[in-house]
Point group: C2
Chain length 399, copies 2
DNA sequence: ATTAATTTGTTGGATCACCAAACTAATTAC
DNA sequence: GTAATTAGTTTGGTGATCCAACAAATTAAT
């Protein structure tokens, strides 16, 4: 297990070949179906080189070939696309109450999914039980054992050492997930663990239907708090303490409302799900107890004006924070994930009104705010994306 | 003119060679003096390959060779270092009142420097007059014509098109500096123009004496406002509208003091030089008019308690903003440049006290706050660094 | 002084990957 | 049926890196 990234510090023919292989494989993933000739044109590699590398990709069963009929003059191209069968990955998203397990193909399609109760108090027993559940699912689907598994949790994760540094949700601290998995399931060749928002950003990048929205964007995960994955030039910003993207605790109102982190005026105090519920109970004449965010979204969609107003108030603060992000990072896109996406039509106009009033400083800005394009839970697809990325690109350029 | 970056989209032997050349050249710059064998060890390239490439670098007169005596067993190594003679670059920093011109060697040493009054109202005449002054300086130093010139201005700059998008300081909008230079001085092969804070960050990265502080840090330029250069994995974050790093307009106090940008509670309202002066005039019993920030720094160093208190108040807000940066970007370092560096001993304890109280959320964080290590004005060295970087690395990996 | 040991840097042949151009294959248009 | 066009393969050439042997320079021991 624990195949580490190939850290590239210089180029030799083999490394160059591997990089080109990855470039071609990613081109196929992004533009599929695509012909060898087109790949040659967009990469600048010679046709013969492309053919040569594609032959190995076909041998590795990562790519699939099919004759195409395009009714144009000349010989028909051979369409290349990603081979989805035989390359499944395991995905585990550990949330505070429920843990979701899934088997996902390398194109991001969820083949099977189930949830179990999270038993975070005893991770040494809980993690193995997740792996056993995955194996059970595999047997039912008659698939080969999984060689790649991705795990996502809310909290600070040292991905390079497969360790959870700190997770307040789960009460974990310095937990070496890698060793637990290795001892229980030595057949797993690659385990990757990452923060949920960072992994969601990765999923949006490589599996999202915004069709490569851009090479630099910010994925905002709005839920219990506000976390973010920052993507710069196709790389996730990890942070020197593995803690980049903790946008929820950006100070928005110095001296404002107290936050669970001990400070005051943090963004998430004003804009996360709990804030919306708080706004609702303060506004509604008959709040019917304290509804969950999903229930609240349903009420808003059903026409409950207090629920709508609560979401609009949150949206205004979401917009304020986004304006700060735009001014400081100036990303191409901001992609939002979380329950609020359910009421996108209600919140989007409010967010944009605030952003346009506050974020652009009168000058032209290009940042586009979007709802996530992922069709399943972003943190779950994020867990899958961690493994999928490694299949497509198994090195990291340091230079 | 206008040599654009080589955008690398795939690897072939020539590109690989060029990358390795750049890796070796940068290794020499960072670790000089260094032997061929050591370069081979740190890059992973074969000794013979290193020798081969070093031979071309010696031919190009970029590198200098010298026998070393290290008194160790075995043959003495040949020390390689950057050849500073014959490779000078021009640097122009256009500030709102004064423009500084300099001739700098590729190791970052300023050979000659002078200032002229900024005539921003007529850039079509002013830019050429800057170039003429540089040529005059060259004649006095009996140097060859400059092939590389870097320009820095405060404002939003489209570096790829050598254009100033917007500069409120200079009143420039959509100004094509590249064309002006090309028409006046066609012998200039490469003109690079960049925002002052971003270029300062670059200077700190490649010329700073923190000896490569890290590959990801934020350079905070505190002056009339607060600008920043964000360095991630040795690259400057440019932003989708070329406007990344406008940290001065990050909202810190929603609904707070009005800012010139039209919003309220922006960070720079509380923490820039004007704020410090404001604090001082409010505190001092005999403010002696409204002193400039340099004068104020002198008074603080001279024991003026009102000046000290003003800087400490600003420092507290600087710390607050830094805490937000740490929580959101989690950089390895934050490097501060500007007049406040003069009173570093006064402000540093206050900044750190605030940062530690607010930025680390009780968990271990590694971010280190430092004063700039640059021995000359960061935006001026930044202008030089723009050209120097291109000499050392003339491609950009896109992948 | 001579020899052994050690380290630096060079040389020459082998290998590997990409490229260019010619070639085969398949399809449409006339 | 032939020409034109586009897709993909084959073949030989080039160029860069690697490997291993070697030469050069220095210290330590005999």
């Amino acid at each position: 297990m624990k195949k580490r990234y190939n850290q590239i510090t210089s180029i030799n023919p083999k490394v160059g070949r591997n990089i080109n292989r990855s470039i071609i494989l990613n081109a196929i993933r992004e533009k599929q179906p695509i012909s060898r000739t087109k790949i040659s044109k967009i990469t600048g590699l010679n046709k013969s080189t492309v053919s040569n590398i594609v032959t190995s990709l076909l041998d590795e069963e990562l790519v699939h070939e099919e004759v195409s009929r395009n009714n144009e003059i000349g010989r028909n191209p051979l369409d290349l696309s990603i081979k989805r069968e035989r390359n499944y990955v395991g995905a585990i998203y550990v949330d505070s109450l429920l843990t979701t397990l899934a088997i996902v193909d390398i194109d991001g399609t969820v083949l099977d999914k189930r949830s179990i109760k999270t038993e975070s108090a005893n991770p040494g027993a809980f993690i193995p039980s997740c792996l056993d559940s995955l194996k059970q699912m595999l047997r039912e689907n008659q698939s080969r054992p999984l060689k790649n598994i991705g795990v996502t949790v809310a909290g600070i994760v040292d991905s390079g050492h497969s360790r959870v540094v700190y997770s307040s949700n789960l009460g974990w601290q310095d937990l070496d997930i890698g060793t637990i998995v290795q001892e229980h399931s030595p057949e797993v060749e690659l385990l990757t663990i990452e923060n949920d928002a960072k992994a969601s950003a990765l999923a949006e990048l490589i599996l999202g239907k915004h069709r490569v929205p851009s090479s630099s964007f910010i994925f905002l995960s709005i839920g219990r708090g506000i976390g973010a994955g920052i993507v710069v030039d196709n790389h996730i910003l990890s942070g020197s303490s593995h803690a980049a993207g903790e946008y929820g605790h950006m100070t928005l109102v110095e001296g404002g409302e107290p936050c669970s982190c001990g400070n005051r005026g943090c963004w998430e105090v004003y804009a996360c799900d709990r804030a919306t519920v708080r706004y609702y109970t303060a506004l509604a004449t008959h709040p019917n107890g304290s509804p969950g965010i999903e229930e609240l979204a349903d009420r808003a969609l059903g026409g409950d004006q207090s629920a709508v107003a609560a979401f609009r108030k949150s949206a205004e603060y979401i917009g304020l924070g986004i304006a700060s992000i735009i001014r400081t990072i100036d990303p191409q896109n901001i992609v939002i994930g979380g329950s609020v996406v359910k009421v996108w039509n209600i919140i989007y106009p409010v967010i944009m009104e605030t952003v346009e009033r506050r974020g652009f400083l009168g000058k032209q800005r290009n940042t586009v705010v979007l709802a996530t394009s992922l069709t399943d839970s972003p943190p779950l697809l994020g867990a899958a994306a961690l493994s999928i990325r490694r299949i497509f690109t198994d090195y990291r350029i340091t230079l």
